[in-house]
Symmetry: C2
Subunit: 153 residues, 2 copies
DNA sequence: CGGAATTTGTTGCACCCGTAACGACCCAAA
DNA sequence: TTTGGGTCGTTACGGGTGCAACAAATTCCG
């Protein structure tokens, strides 16, 4: 007989586990919860703080707005992360000579040290993550993501 | 000369925009912010509430723990979403005859109506999203995600 | 049986978040 | 120089979030 244990909506149902927004969220959650544990346990960093550190580590001196643009963070997140890292003496803000609304942010020696410590760990995390799936699937995943990024970002 | 506008770390830098956890988060954010606007604007649903609705719509009657398992939500999220939908009379909780710790959750007629309204919109959203990228890339993306899901979930 | 360990779901807490409003500042047009 | 429209960054606020602790119920096991 065709009836299943499900009680409703068989025909009109949406399979959540095959629904792309849900799957993206679940994957993003899984991936970055594992990675977040690293910088959270080792240094008590939140995700916005890690992104700020990573952005300044990559680009050197920049303003809060530029950090937000490059790391896809809301300006209030950046603002709070800057306050937090400044309090730890991991970054400094120097007033900009040309525009007195902005500060130029840069990592201190201590901040750069943490960044340099985290980079190889991050690389290794990504390597293990991608290494765990078949090379064909890996290339497919990266190509597909690239295509979606071109469309959405 | 080899020097660039970047001031630090050129060699040891991590390119955030090519770092997988970052890219996943950014894509998940972009995708589900667009979709969230639909159920948020139309019905004032939060994401946990939408997931609860979608899970009960798909599976019919189930307990809070089962909802959490199927929708990848923390039990406190489920608990709060249940309270919210119950207050709107979109779901009912009936005490389980066998296990008095749990309630059997099910959508009311009103809840099911909202679900049926949202399903085709969700399908259409996904269709447009996937339709916007090249069929080859689309297949690649889905295969790659499937591979990662097998590894991580 | 009967106590210990486990499961289920709720709540207090501290924290994180986006929105909106704001002050300070920049710039261009008059 | 004044004025109006914009940008930059901060903060109050309302609300979402996970963790830990908890009570109630169940299950495990001697």
């Amino acid at each position: 007989m065709p009836s299943s244990r499900h009680e409703t909506m068989d025909a009109a149902a949406l399979e959540l586990e095959n629904f792309l927004p849900y799957r993206f969220n679940r994957l993003a959650d899984a991936v970055s919860r594992d990675f977040a544990r690293i910088y959270k346990d080792r240094h008590g960093l939140t995700r916005p703080e890690w992104r700020l550190l990573a952005t300044l580590g990559q680009y050197g001196t920049m303003t809060a707005t530029a950090v937000g643009r490059h790391s896809a963070m809301h300006k209030t997140k950046v603002s709070r992360a800057v306050t937090a890292l400044e309090r730890r003496l991991w970054l400094t803000r120097r007033p900009d000579g040309e525009d007195r609304r902005v500060d130029n942010l840069a990592l201190t020696k201590a901040g750069a040290r943490v960044y340099r410590e985290l980079v190889p760990i991050a690389r290794n995390f990504e390597k293990e993550l991608l290494g765990s799936i078949d090379p064909k699937d890996r290339a497919a995943l990266l190509a597909g993501m690239r295509a979606l990024e071109r469309k959405l970002l």
